[in-house]
């Protein structure tokens, strides 16, 4: 039997690990960084961040690396886990303890659920979950919340519509739970019957706040009229048994300038990216489309998180 060390207190593993007050501190710091990046350009000077990505990722990895480099820190990385110690049969616990001896901060993405939680048990340095299987992707939630607070100025009392694949999308599950902690938030869940929000996620949301409003609909236009925030997701072909169903449903949930006409003037349209066909390219020109700014804001949010975890803010 292995002796299990105590978990480090300064990890970021689950979006709900942080209370709303701590998120507010991070947003305040992220705004300061965004407004005056030069003031933070050497905040992490002399610090080393290790990125361990056991599955492919473009945006998340680049966002973390850009964040650390903009803070004046440096980055070491495992180029390809298939050729690394994993292929030699090393346990994740051993890898983390070894890498923790080199770096001041670890970012891990792993295909297995709970991998980051396990890694955190053994990490001698702060560890950030960059996504573990279908379970958690807390820095995406951090990004999403920061985007909403940047554009709407608040996180409470908003009508937030989620559209597309609400069944399998982990970013949707995490964000709904994180937003449910703010009073007055109402949710409109727009999806085909086949891709509705799972009951266990609804249960978890209701556990967080029992009077939360969850309105489900299959009609995109219906949800669009009232929403302050529209969070679009991709409907993936592999979720369907036949192509005919997929094509029918995919086309029903495509955001177009025509559909946006019925929406509020101060709506914001978000998307975790990559976008495929669910938002037509013409929508990009609409000032309500903020998904590319959302990706950029994610970098500032990660900069705030890194400086906070390293205690250099």
């Amino acid at each position: 039997m292995t002796t299990m060390p105590a978990s480090h207190s300064r990890h970021f593993i689950d979006a709900l690990d942080l209370p709303p007050a701590k998120y507010a501190d991070l947003f305040s710091l992220a705004h300061r960084i965004k407004d005056d990046p030069a003031a933070f350009s050497s905040a992490c000077s002399g610090k080393l961040m290790a990125t361990l990505f056991y599955e492919p990722s473009t945006r998340t990895r680049l966002s973390f690396e850009a964040a650390m480099l903009r803070l004046g820190g440096r980055v070491i990385t495992v180029a390809d886990p298939a050729t690394s110690s994993v292929a030699k049969g090393e346990s994740l616990a051993d890898t983390i303890r070894t890498v923790g001896g080199y770096a001041d901060l670890i970012v891990i993405r792993h295909p297995k659920e709970g991998a980051a939680k396990l890694a955190a048990l053994y990490s001698p340095v702060p560890l950030i979950n960059g996504g573990d299987g279908a379970r958690e992707h807390p820095t995406q939630t951090l990004t999403d919340l920061f985007t909403i607070v940047t554009y709407k100025g608040r996180l409470d009392g908003l009508i937030v519509a989620f559209c597309g694949d609400l069944r399998y999308g982990r970013t949707v599950h995490s964000l709904i739970k994180a937003l449910a902690r703010y009073p007055g938030t109402r949710f409109i869940l727009i999806s085909p019957e086949e891709l509705r929000l799972p009951d266990h996620v609804k249960g978890e949301v209701l556990d967080l706040r029992e009077d939360v409003e969850l309105h489900e609909t299959t009609r995109m236009e219906e949800g669009l009229k009232q929403a302050d925030v529209l969070y679009m997701t991709r409907i993936q072909k592999e979720r369907f048994f036949n192509e005919e169903d997929y094509l029918r449903l995919r086309d029903a949930y495509v955001l177009t300038p025509g559909k946006l006409r019925a929406a509020k003037g101060d709506l914001i349209v978000m998307h975790p990216l990559p976008r495929v066909t669910e938002i037509s390219p013409e929508v990009d020109e609409d000032e309500r489309a903020v998904y590319f700014q959302q990706a950029r804001l994610g970098m500032f949010a990660r900069m705030a998180l890194i400086t906070s975890l390293l205690g250099v803010a």
Binding site: M1, T2, M4, S91, L92, A93, D94, H110, P111, K112, E113, G114, A115, K117, L118, L121, D132, G133, A134, R135
Partner: protein
Amino acid sequence: MLKVDRIQVGIVLDHIRVGGGLRIFKELGLAGQEYPVALLMNVPSTKMARKDMIKVSEALDLDLTKLALLDAGITVNYIEGGQVVRKVKPGLPERVVGLIRCKNPRCITSTESYSPSIFTLVDREAKRYKCFYCGEYVTV
């Protein structure tokens, strides 16, 4: 008839499902202890027809938190001065390390053999546990 002496101080694990005694003996780490231990198998029982029993002499501080998971029907008898001073039906432990296997094939514990599984009790009535790592529920 096989005869095992009455113990003066110790623990008797009674009403073990027949055939389950050896596993419990192993899980409690009784092999290699310095105090006398007896594993009795196929003991005639009026209640169960046949049962297994474990007698542990001299030790009163065994960690028995796993017992309810291994066999819910066990009775723990604490012996002092040759008499049963307390009978206990062990309850489900709040936290179980290494005994329950997570059924979720996507859970990190399915491939990471170094770290033991960790489960926490979420519903005592329903005997439901939750995997610390992936959140999967299991009923024991």
